[in-house]
Amino acid sequence: MAETNNDQGIPEPEGVSEVIDTEYEIGQDNIETQIGPFGLDIHNPVFLISGLSIMLFVFYALALPEQAASIFGWLRPWLTQTFDFFFLGAANIFVIFCLLLIVLPLGKVRLGGEDATPDYSYIGWFAMLFAAGMGIGLMFYGVSEPMSHFSTSLGGIVVGEDGARTDWAPLGAAAGNEAESIRLGMAATIFHWGLHPWAIYAVVALALALFSYNKGLPLTIRSAFYPILGERVWGWWGHVIDIMAVFATLFGLATSLGFGATQANAGLNELFGVPVGSGTEVILISAITAVALISVVRGLDGGVKVLSEINMGLAFLLLAFVLIVGPTLAILTGFADSLMAYVTYLPALSNPIGREDANFSQGWTGFYWAWWISWSPFVGMFIARVSRGRTVREFVICVLLIPSLVCVLWMSVFGGTAIQQYVQDGVTTVQDASLELKLFKMLAELPLASITSFVGIILVVVFFVTSSDSGSLVIDTITAGGKVDAPVPQRVFWCVFEGAVAIALLLGGGLASLQAMVISTGLPFTVILLLMCYSIWRGLVAERKQG
């Protein structure tokens, strides 16, 4: 018998769970070879096609920048305008589906089998899913988005010559009404960062965790389609799904890294007078990639988890600082008000059809939903990787409700403070500043600005690192056919490749067009996610029957 050892041996028997009986052996399509001194263990053809098509698109964007910009620059808004009802409707379905899983008996199913125990403590788990999921966005939009919705709401409805609304205010705006504009602005922001995005991530993560830990299928996106496609999932259907996921993940990360470097550069210039230019930006991308590299080589526990926890700690300190030295009472009542406003406006904001606020519902909401969905293969798969041992109910509560609450708190503190500065003291520096500087302009109005701004810059950089390292692990796993123990040089390759793509696009132009292309992948992935809901349902029902 195997010795069982509680602290590091095999967990106790996994209990009843319905392992899917398939002829497919994980790694059967893999090529294990030696290139020079490096060992490789890669999925054929996912690794090769993903890598080559990424390079093709980079060359295309560099060789024909204007054509690429016009095609993708047209495609993205066309998609969010034409399919806005589809994005909004689908996201609502994901939220309802997740909420149902919390209350239905299906929520009792445990990921990893009845007797599995959680792989990570709540803190480590939570830190990792947050750092991968949206940390960096909170840094940039925490101040700017509430401000923007507040201003447009206050501005009221503006109608152009053709009778269409030209303002970007949510719903019917709140012309001239400051208090209501704050409520509407906060509700609209929380709407974009609350339940809906996390439900999108939760669906992907749950599908992958369920089919991997309970059904014994490889940890790749295609496994979630086994109930629909059957054995065909191991053929081209599956290859296409996996390749698309790699594609969206790598370009999503690389373009964010490229833009992020530009933004961090602007921040550094503001704070320390560091020159703005592609030289500095290339150094920043290289530095972020280098730290991410150390992190992936140190592995999930020694690198990714440690950095995520450092990140969480720093972000919490900054949050607490702003809360205490900022207008504490106003922020706290603002938190409760924002939450109430969110609940009040939620039905109207999430309504997919017959919207009068096309600019807002398509340009903001539609854009965000496509964006979150195009990131979902990456974030979902990473969440799945660290969520073994949780029950479905616990999983959904922790991936859906708690991060949503944290986002409400974050937005109330950072956005609330900036709005208070404007309303109470008439400070307009935040409003006038460009996106990447808004956070720093807000901090500048508070005491100890040089310290907090420095912490802010560090947070921006480390959040990029935590996205980059977890992304490299995800791409490595998908391109190794679901194996999490592929040779280390492979994850190093993806991490470096991502940095190289970011630098190439930054120097040659093409960040914007390829980012538009990534967001366009949100459309096919929305279909994929809807099908995943069905798969999860089937999988959970089968699981309950076993138990």
Partner: protein, 137 residues
């Protein structure tokens, strides 16, 4: 001289381990030592097994087969790890202490240029374990 031999194995590539395995078996017979076969897996499904439980069963079967083939007394010890490729060395070192083994016999590749960056597992264990380590190349 030795009472308990620990033999780390990679079940996915057991075919490449023949030399280390027969070496360990010979030593076990010579000293009348017990052999523990150790393997590390991730919790996710892999090429060897669908879950950690199945992995442990396969390792048990492997140990039983070795015991029968070589006529030695053998047991199995399976360990799960979050990131086996990276955590292998520290995990194995901990198992050396936990099992109380006084000799480790493990297979390893012939060192090449990459060993300067990523030392082989055999090399690292030999460098850090407190007991005798025999690296079979």
């Amino acid at each position: 001289m030795f009472k308990h031999i620990m033999v780390p194995v990679d079940l996915a590539h057991a075919g490449q381990l023949d030399k280390a395995l027969s070496c360990a078996a010979d030593l076990a017979k010579l000293y009348g030592a017990e052999v523990t076969y150790v393997a590390v897996t991730a919790a996710t499904p892999g090429s060897v097994a669908h879950n950690p439980k199945e992995f442990a069963e396969k390792l048990d079967a492997f140990a039983a087969e070795q015991a029968k083939t070589h006529g030695i007394s053998a047991s199995a010890h399976a360990v799960t790890s979050h990131d086996p490729r990276v955590d292998l060395d520290p995990t194995l070192l901990k198992v050396v202490t936990d099992t109380g083994a006084d000799l480790v016999v493990m297979g390893s590749h012939v060192p090449n240029i990459t060993d300067y960056i990523w030392p082989s597992n055999g090399g690292t264990i030999a460098g850090h374990a407190k007991v005798t380590v025999m690296v079979v190349r």
